[in-house]
Symmetry: C2
Subunit: 734 residues, 2 copies
């Protein structure tokens, strides 16, 4: 019976891909509008595609090097499973493919959305939302397809271990984590590269165009405007796609690995099998519910703004509520031990996600006090805007952290059957809570991805001179997306923390396999007791490696982990600063040297700006990304297992808080500026406006480059540690 | 023989206080200059003293509440030692006294320094430096006096434990930590309150005076200028004095407690006694060497700037080099086990401090690339200055963290005799390395405290219209101080991390005493082994409470700890933002409403600005400071011992990195502005200058309010946890 349930997984992922294809065709059938609109869309599309090509070239080189390295480790030194290099490759490939397909759709959809908005708001919404849904469905479809493919392949290829049949599933699930590492590597490059690209263009366009020359956003006289629109696609669409592909797969894979580990000691392979496929099943049903939710988003032809908002929220809420019931059903059908408590863990995850989402909205939306006060601090100039924004961002970390802490404790406590010493089941509960949060990613990502499409549609409308009314409609669509996207963001942030923890637990599991591989069969614990590696518990490993908080190696690792989060942010912030400076100088140069540019008589050199952003991004993204891969390896070689665990947990706790701080400060600055532009405190062009534009510019790399990359960084470091565990257990300096 | 050595401690602290008194009298004998100078100095002095009075009133109320609470805990529920309330009070009192005396000296010295600078640079240096030395000597003198007083008192009052004589010293040393908690509480209030005061005034004065009205710094036409000068005294002098008193005592007390713990299992009370007094002896000899160093700072009458710098560096370097030899001598005379290795740990601490100091200098001084590039980023406006400064600050955390990690590992490794399982000796090594760093605080604090005196002298010279030449000399003195202060700052930062770790270890020790008090004699470890509480090792406690990195309570504590660091910074940043906004509005109002103010015909209402800063500081400082006291108690009540340990270590690792980031970003912004003012990139009044002034304004609360408070926060949370351990071991929710 359970085997038959598994087939839901590949089937629902195929369904998601088919539906994505259908939506894509449907969107392509619409008209792109006037020749000018077509031409602009083509400009943006070519720019975005050529950037992505360039990006994938660099990433391919990195992947080739890593694959060679893994192959040597696996085949030369037998420190790794032989499947590692291939699994790593497919993870990277599918993650990149998700980004590519999402971006392709987005670049086709923007002009069509603008054109549809000429008729009505409702028509604009439908095209933009369904195009966003393509991205959502592609991510979950490809993710789950890849997972089921590897699961079936490894089931078939890895021989049964007669001595210990329970360990086969452990080997399968930890090998599959390698594919997660491929996805994370690709995602980090996409986020960092795309983030630098888009923010360099954005900052450049804003600082010179809006502040110095005083021309509106997306004005065709601004040389950086095409680069800015290309940036929205490569950063906010392709980057986000790769990012969420990574989160989605990471949470499922880590939880499966924990499920395999939770039942290894009992030797009950049937229950182990159920625990491994449970997260996949929840994700599969989540896809079906997302599709239901997407079709539930429909409005009457003459719908008002309020109707649209209601309809959009209805779709996402429907999926989220139904997944609760579905989880109980799946767990019961599967007949997994302790099914009620595990299902409650999933519900806890969902509630935590909603709380984080609400708190994000409260701190960053101009409908609430904090952001309004931030706008007001512009009365005393840009310096107080920056001080207040940083203060706001730092304070805003409180609710999400408390929510996550409550989520960790309760999901662990329920899953462990109210017994804190039942570590493996407790950790499995944390993992499955993260899977619950991301299970309806199909629809939450749709509401997230449709934002940049509406934004680009606005850009197209402005550049094509479609008039005030159309621009207003696309702006309305954009702000609509911002409101509904809050929940999705809450889920993404919360799941990152929980998945980070699950990966940490998987690392311990991988240590077991690594010890096995180098021939260590018995652990001698410090109190003189001997335990077989096969039967050692989490606590035994902790004792064996002395992973307590008084071990200086653990503490050193933690300091390095905290530092890594800051160093990584600093490097990416500086990269944006440098690339933006070059962009500012170029735009100023063009305004100065190309005569008649500001009167609209001469065309600016768009291509030059696109080139500056591309070069900046490609040049700057490699070092910080490689650092994330090198740090856990180096820490392992110097401080061994305790150092690596310290590094991961230090990076997780600092990185998580730092990421929320940066995301919220950036979001609040953005909306504080918008609040002023809505006519408050003097409105557009006032001193207060100028001050809040400075805040917005500083916030750009916060919220779109450094902040979101941090979540990937933390997970990638864990994955690298897992993949390299074989090396760490065999040698370290101290 | 060892008992006779102990007497060096009270004797050298008395000597320090006597010499401070002598320097103070010497300074008072100098002339304050013209009547205008006297009058301005009086204004500043009265403002500062009345602020401090107000501040101490609020702090006294908080102390009264806490003492009542501790008394109930100690006498009512027997959850604490009976000496706790009194020890707590004296710690707070002496910390406050250090700040008061230092500030009193500084406010008398500034006009005299300005007056002396009318004659020569050298004369100005002598008065400013010796007045700074008063502060340095008062801090170390009072600190060590208080420590020896309590040590002797408790030796006499606490009865010998016949069952376990070794535990008497443990009870003494952990009780003395309560006095450290008093000092930390006072220091946190002083830093936060003083920091808010000074930065609100500074930001207000700069934003309206310098940027909007275009009048120079310290111009008497600026209504906030007196408040600004008062702020330098209450924040940079009184705040810093209380802060370093706390660091100094904290490092000695924590190390003594570790020394007592390290030898408890062996039952060798003589060696235990030696380990307890060793840090006090190093500190005492450090005082003597500091005095030597202070007298070594002397120059010829016609000394050039270069000569002065050389002389100042010679003094500090002399003390630092001699302390190395002295340490070996003390350890040998004391006949402590493993004396060579322990002395090497001290040397390691000193080297780490020097590296951190150099790295701080590299990232924040305008003589090096990073700050120069930061100035250059002003070409593209304030937004890029902020982005680059944040990037620079984040990247600058790398070297200090790596230095501290190497310091932790090596000082542990040497002290533990190259055996990582020898935890208590290893931790003692980390503690003694921190003591080494702070042992020459007498002179390093002198070079640090003389900066604000020179700064104020400059303010006095400007307001009294003493002319360009005198102002130039006071500016030179100020920048001289900045260069030599780098090493002192490195020692302070490095010691904070190491002391934080020592306190964590002391917490475990206090758990033992707490269990003893509630009548738990035997620990049942998870593997079934039973250990007597008296004989349990660090690892046994870790196992008993399951303080591993897979325990969700530990992880929850770590998330909360990281969050606390950010929340605390956010609250203090916002407090500065709010108070500064009010100040800006007030200064603008005065410029608008008081006619003739900008022409120098009407006197501004200085008192009003002083009042705004005072109110802002008093109002805003209470909540964040109380949070630091409540967080560990609440975490303990909810998550028990594992949660508290997680909280402390999460707060330590995130807080340490965050503190370096904020201090360095702030310092770099400050000097980037100065670099522009020196005539680079357009010099004063240019667009680049305006952009860097925004950076400097944002950096003010970074480097003088939030950043330095963080180090105290981390230690205060540990001390609170230690003092409240009795409660935590007796009850927790999970």
């Amino acid at each position: 019976m359970e085997t038959s349930l598994f087939w839901i997984v590949p089937v629902s992922s195929a369904l998601a891909l088919l539906l994505a294809w259908y939506f894509y065709r449907q969107m392509k059938a619409e008209s792109e509008g006037t020749p000018t609109m077509e031409c602009i869309a083509l400009h943006v599309r070519t720019g975005a595609m050529s950037y992505l090509k360039q990006q994938y070239k660099v990433v391919t080189m990195v992947f080739v090097c890593l694959v060679i390295f893994f192959a040597i480790m696996a085949y030369g030194f037998n420190l790794q499973n032989h499947w590692v290099p291939v699994a790593f490759l497919t993870g990277g490939f599918f993650s990149g493919l998700s980004g590519y397909l999402g971006m392709k759709t987005a670049t086709y959809a923007s002009a069509r959305t603008a054109n549809a908005a000429r008729n009505s708001l409702n028509k604009g919404l439908r095209i933009a939302f369904r195009s966003g849904a393509v991205m959502g469905l592609v991510v979950v479809g490809l993710g789950l397809l890849d997972i089921s493919f590897w699961y079936l392949l490894l089931q078939y290829c890895i021989p049964e271990d007669v001595m210990n049949p329970a360990s086969k599933l452990c080997v399968i699930t930890t090998t599959m984590l390698t594919f997660g590492m491929g996805a994370s590597t690709q995602a980090l490059f996409a986020r960092v590269g795309g983030g630098i690209y888009t923010k360099a263009a954005d900052v450049g366009a804003d600082l010179v165009g809006k502040v110095e020359a005083g021309i509106p956003e997306d004005d065709p006289r601004n040389p950086a405007t095409i680069a800015d629109n290309v940036g929205d696609n490569v950063g906010d669409v392709a980057g986000m796609g790769a990012d969420l592909y990574e989160s989605y797969c990471g949470s499922i894979l880590a939880t499966s690995a924990l499920g395999a580990a939770a039942f290894i000691a009992s030797g009950d392979t049937e229950m182990q099998f159920k625990a491994v496929i449970a997260p996949m099943l929840i994700a599969a049903v989540g896809i079906l519910l997302s599709i239901l939710g997407i079709f539930a988003v429909r409005t009457r032809e003459d719908a008002s703004m309020k109707d649209l908002l209601k309809s959009l929220s209805f779709g996402t809420n429907l999926s989220s509520v139904l997944i609760v019931f579905a989880t109980f059903l799946i767990m019961w059908l599967l007949g997994i031990d302790n099914w009620i408590n595990l299902s409650i863990s999933v519900v806890i995850g969902l509630v935590v996600g909603v709380i984080i989402g609400r708190s994000t909205e409260y701190y960053t939306s101009q409908s609430y006090k904090p952001t309004q006060k931030l706008s007001e601090s512009g009365k005393t100039g840009p310096a107080t805007v920056i001080i207040s924004g940083i203060g706001l961002g730092m304070i805003s970390t409180t609710i999400p952290v408390i929510a996550v802490v409550i989520g960790i404790i309760l999901s662990y406590w329920f899953a462990a059957g109210f017994d804190f010493t039942n570590i493996s089941m407790g950790l499995y509960g944390i993992g499955i809570a993260a899977v619950g949060m991301l299970s309806t990613l199909g629809i939450t990502l749709a509401t997230d991805a449709y934002g940049p499409i509406a934004d680009n549609a606005g850009g197209n409308a402005e550049m094509s001179g479609l008039g005030e009314e159309v621009r207003k409609r696309t702006d309305a669509l954009d702000s609509l997306g911002n409101t509904t996207a809050a929940t999705g963001k809450g889920f993404a942030i919360g799941s990152a923390a929980l998945t980070g923890l699950s990966l940490l637990a998987s690392y311990i599991e991988e240590i077991r396999i690594g010890l096995d591989r180098i021939g260590t069969a018995i652990l001698e614990l410090p109190n003189g007791i001997e335990v077989a590696v096969h039967e050692a518990s989490f606590t035994d490993f902790m004792m064996y490696y002395d992973v307590t908080l008084m071990n200086p190696k653990v503490i050193s690792g933690m300091f390095i982990g905290s530092m890594m989060a800051f160093l990584f942010c600093g490097l990416t912030m500086n990269a944006v600063g440098r690339a933006a400076s070059r962009m500012v100088e170029e735009v100023r140069r063009q305004f100065r040297e190309i005569k008649g540019i500001l009167e609209g008589k001469a065309e600016p050199d768009y291509a030059r700006c696109v080139q500056i952003s591309t070069k900046g991004a490609q040049h700057e993204m490699v070092f910080p990304s490689l650092l994330a891969i090198i740090a856990p390896v180096a820490t392992g070689l110097i401080f061994g297992v305790p150092g690596v665990i310290g590094l991961l947990i230090g990076g997780l706790s600092s990185g998580f808080v730092l990421a929320i701080f940066m995301a919220n400060a950036g979001g609040a600055w953005d909306n504080a500026k918008k609040y002023v532009e809505e006519g408050n405190f003097g409105g557009k062009g006032s001193e207060v406006h100028r001050a809040t534009v400075v805040g917005d510019t500083v916030g750009d790399p916060f919220k779109d480059t450094s902040g979101p990359s941090l979540n990937i960084l933390v997970k990638l470091m864990s994955m690298v540690a897992i993949v390299m565990a074989g090396l760490t257990v065999s040698w370290s300096l101290f």
